[in-house]
Symmetry: C2
């Protein structure tokens, strides 16, 4: 997706040679025009697939998934939560996920009411690195007896094994931009 | 907003007489058709106001704000973050907020790059109770030298003082549904 790659080149920043900051347009400040183009492109990548639901994970996936839903017949979006709070149902699907950027392991959780057996689910997220978050979401969808149509990723870091981890679960990955290599303020696709 | 009130009556659940669960359509599973109607109504409530940016807070505000932006000329959405991570800028506006549902105090943070002096900002969130989150966001917008046009809330719990707290800061509140009183499985507007 050239529009996205050009935006990453223009506004992305590399920190410590390993962290790609795109928080000016994707995951802190969000460019809603760009998010609409991203939603259209996800629809194109999954054209012809029946989709009942989009599942994502808080926080950065939510805006992407909400906008993308508009191109998938406005199917409901469910976002997995990362910490237990008083106003979440006790009846939960859970999976354990390690975050490299936050350097901690946590449970991701979805109320059992919101993914039903045999639903066809697309998983969307902003980043794919090691694949931990996506694999946790796949685990949850499978616990529900639902089917993962595929995983849609805005930016894949192609050198951290995430795609292989997801493919090993029998799930296909569609990434809109794949970063092969990063140097200080230089990004290779 | 009758569509919203009817949906709250139909699908909302009261827990322990004080927690209103609307996670089947608003803040865990999201009904994107409803979110579009909510976005249109926020636009109507702030009709005629120049708006440069929408500010919200992770996680539940993000989908609401992303969809609403489409009715405000696709202005950028900035979501305040609740915990420090490695990929957020060090140059941050911070404010301290207490969450009653999670029963803890945390910093909310916005990178200084994403709110500029003299910008006109609308703050959107899913719930207003004590007003802590909204007041924290107002504090951050004011630290940036920007102007708060108003606070837009999907569901206000009208008996927990949040509106007064915000009005005391000189900011107006537009809530799409105001709950006056709750009993087990009965909600009064």
């Amino acid at each position: 997706m050239d529009l996205l790659k050009n935006r990453i080149i223009q506004d992305g920043k590399v920190r410590d040679g390993r962290i790609l900051k795109v928080d000016s347009f994707l995951n802190h400040q969000m460019d809603i025009v760009l998010l609409n183009e991203i939603g259209k492109e996800f629809k194109r990548r999954f054209e012809g697939e029946k989709v009942d639901k989009i599942v994502t994970i808080e926080a950065s996936g939510i805006g992407i998934a909400a906008i993308a839903s508009q191109y998938f017949n406005f199917v409901p979006v469910v976002f997995a939560k990362k910490a237990e709070s008083l106003n979440i149902d006790n009846d939960l699907y859970k999976s354990s996920v390690h975050s490299y950027t936050k350097n901690k392991t946590y449970n991701v959780m979805v109320s059992k009411s919101f993914i039903k057996a045999n639903e066809r689910v697309i998983i969307l997220d902003d980043f794919l690195a090691s694949g931990c978050a996506a694999c946790g979401l796949i685990d949850i969808v499978k616990q529900a007896g639902a089917e993962v149509v595929g995983v849609g990723i805005v930016i894949e870091k192609g050198f951290q094994g995430g795609r292989e981890a997801i493919n090993n679960l029998g799930v296909k990955v569609e990434s809109l931009a794949i970063v092969d290599r990063m140097e200080e303020d230089r990004i290779y696709f």
